[in-house]
């Protein structure tokens, strides 16, 4: 298959295209800001327009769509027409995966490419599962947060399966970068939806343990704190009553460093009815952010005051939050 654009005769000089009259782009009588297309691009598009108008679906038009896509992978009309040709010619779609791979190497954030990949995978069915998981894994090894790759991977899992190793995959990515929020999100996706695991409630205890470990290693990392809260989505009672939660907050506060999320999490607990022991008041006092005697008797108010100082980007928010607390009214 020809994949190189250089050293080719122009289409108008090629014998196999001599029967086609190229169709120029109709920019209307008074084009505004007309694009200065390169000659090669203009010609290729003129031939495409001609065969598209004629609805010719043949090996030569299939090849032409490849050329157009290489020149402009964003042209969704050509991608669509290519799919029509593939169906008519009943082409082996495994080869199409190779083509998609080629386009992906320079354009891993192109929407049309990913949609095409999904279309091919859907046609190939479960035969394609491993291939798709490997493909997205390869893209993610270059950019572990590529949104399209993650989206495609989630679709593959839901439509074609392959869940068995997904939790391990998330873990391996988090070992490489514990701050990778995409991997945390995927973890949540797996534990809630995988048919091989028991669902959120069943996975909760082990996930809390996993997350607490991640928090203690890097308490300034937002992702595990959000994940922890997410484990108790729609179950505030469970959230307030799990001793692991205030425990990890206390742990972080006792270390006296990177405690902003520990404070805001504790605040959330207090607002939901958590009754703190004296340990918490002592730990907060020991932070040295204010004179221990000036710590407000209401711990939630005290925490807001501290956060106003130490989380200064959100000072206005903490001030507002404080004003809305029951005792403040």
């Amino acid at each position: 298959m020809a994949s190189d654009l250089q050293g080719q005769l122009p289409l108008c000089k090629r014998v196999e295209w001599s029967d086609v009259i190229p169709l120029p782009q109709d920019d209307g009588p008074n084009p505004v800001v007309a694009i200065a297309y390169k000659e090669e691009f203009r010609e290729t598009m003129d031939y495409f327009r001609a065969i598209y108008r004629a609805d010719e679906r043949s090996p030569r038009t299939l090849s032409l769509t490849r050329q157009v896509i290489l020149m402009n992978p964003g042209n969704y009309t050509v991608w669509h027409f290519r799919r029509l040709i593939l169906e008519t010619l009943n082409v082996d779609l495994h080869e199409e995966l190779d083509f998609a791979q080629q386009i992906a190497s320079g354009n891993s954030k192109n929407y049309q490419l990913w949609h095409h990949r999904r279309w091919v995978a859907e046609k190939l069915g479960t035969d394609a599962t491993l291939n798709e998981l490997n493909f997205t894994k390869k893209i993610l090894s270059v950019d572990a947060k590529n949104y399209h790759a993650w989206s495609h991977r989630q679709w593959v899992l839901k439509a074609l399966g392959g869940w068995e190793d997904e939790l391990d995959y998330c873990h391996s990515l988090l070992r490489e970068d514990i701050y990778n929020n995409s991997a945390w999100n995927q973890r949540y996706f797996v534990i809630t939806i995988s048919p091989f695991l028991g669902g959120l409630k069943a996975m909760r205890d082990s996930e809390v343990t996993y997350t607490v470990e991640a928090i203690l290693a890097n308490p300034e990392n937002e992702s595990p704190w959000r994940y922890l809260r997410g484990l108790y989505k729609d179950d505030t009672e469970g959230w307030v009553n799990d001793p692991e939660i205030p425990s990890v907050c206390l742990n972080v506060l006792s270390a006296k460093s990177n405690y902003i999320f520990a404070l805001s999490t504790l605040l959330d607990l207090l607002c939901n009815g958590f009754q703190p022991s004296q340990e918490f008041r002592d730990a907060i006092g020991a932070l040295g952010t204010s004179d221990i005697n000036q710590l407000d008797s209401n711990l939630a108010i005290a925490i807001c005051s501290i956060l106003e100082k130490v989380d200064s980007s959100r000072a206005n928010y903490w001030r507002w939050h404080k004003s809305k607390l029951p005792s403040a009214l």
């Binding site: 990913w114 947060k145 980007s313």
Partner: protein, 213 residues
């Protein structure tokens, strides 16, 4: 446009087939709003799809299950506002109930302001000019814009301004039209002198919105 709406409430951009996600729900809502005609979409279904896109951390992904993202969150909240499912400046009012988890989306949005003053599109990613609009506009719609650190944001945005004009995604890079436009909308939200006020849910000036609607 009605024919482009999917059974799950999302929208496809073209009839021949393409990806479906919150971007096109937003486009549909904006079109209907500007035309003053909602017969082109089923708002309830669209709302259901949007709600499915709210992540465990409060932000919205572009599809259900996807990672929460500044652009997704904008499309979600702006759409709900345009469709009439959330009131203006909800957070400033005493009404506590809402179709989405408001305190959590507020917290998520505010956490997107990084130490360098700029806004990131997702947790633990670099600040990027355009999210000062995508996330900033959500805060403006909800009544939480007053909670951001404006001086730091302004300082960050100026580091993304190219010496010959325009804005880039990150400091020190070459500008492009997209980041330049959203740089301007971000400054408008900051009420920069000599810039016109912005209609956050349409991403254009109030003046322009008035002319269209």
């Amino acid at each position: 446009m009605r024919n482009l709406q999917q059974p799950d409430g999302s929208f496809m951009p073209i009839h021949v087939g393409a990806e479906t996600d919150l971007r096109f729900v937003y486009c549909a809502a904006a079109i209907c709003f500007m035309l003053g005609d909602w017969s082109g979409m089923d708002r309830e279904k669209a709302k259901d799809y949007i709600l499915q896109c709210q992540s465990y951390d409060g932000g919205f992904g572009l599809t259900p299950g996807s990672e929460s993202h500044g652009g997704g969150t904008y499309c979600a909240v702006a759409s709900l506002r345009l469709m009439g499912f959330i009131e203006d400046e909800h957070l400033s009012k005493s009404a506590s109930s809402s179709v989405i988890n408001m305190p959590l989306v507020l917290s998520w949005c505010l956490q997107r302001q990084a130490a360098d003053g700029g806004f990131q599109g997702r947790a633990n990613k670099s600040s990027d000019t355009c999210y000062a609009f995508w996330v900033g506009a959500v805060l403006r719609i909800l009544g939480g814009y007053k909670f951001i650190e404006k001086i730091a944001l302004r300082r960050f945005l100026l580091t993304c301004q190219y010496e010959f004009g325009g804005f880039s995604k990150y400091p020190g890079e070459l500008p492009d039209l997209y980041h330049s436009y959203y740089g301007y909308t971000a400054f408008s939200l900051l009420e920069e002198p000599d810039l016109n006020p912005l209609c956050p849910e349409l991403g254009m000036t109030d003046l322009a919105a008035l002319g269209i609607v």
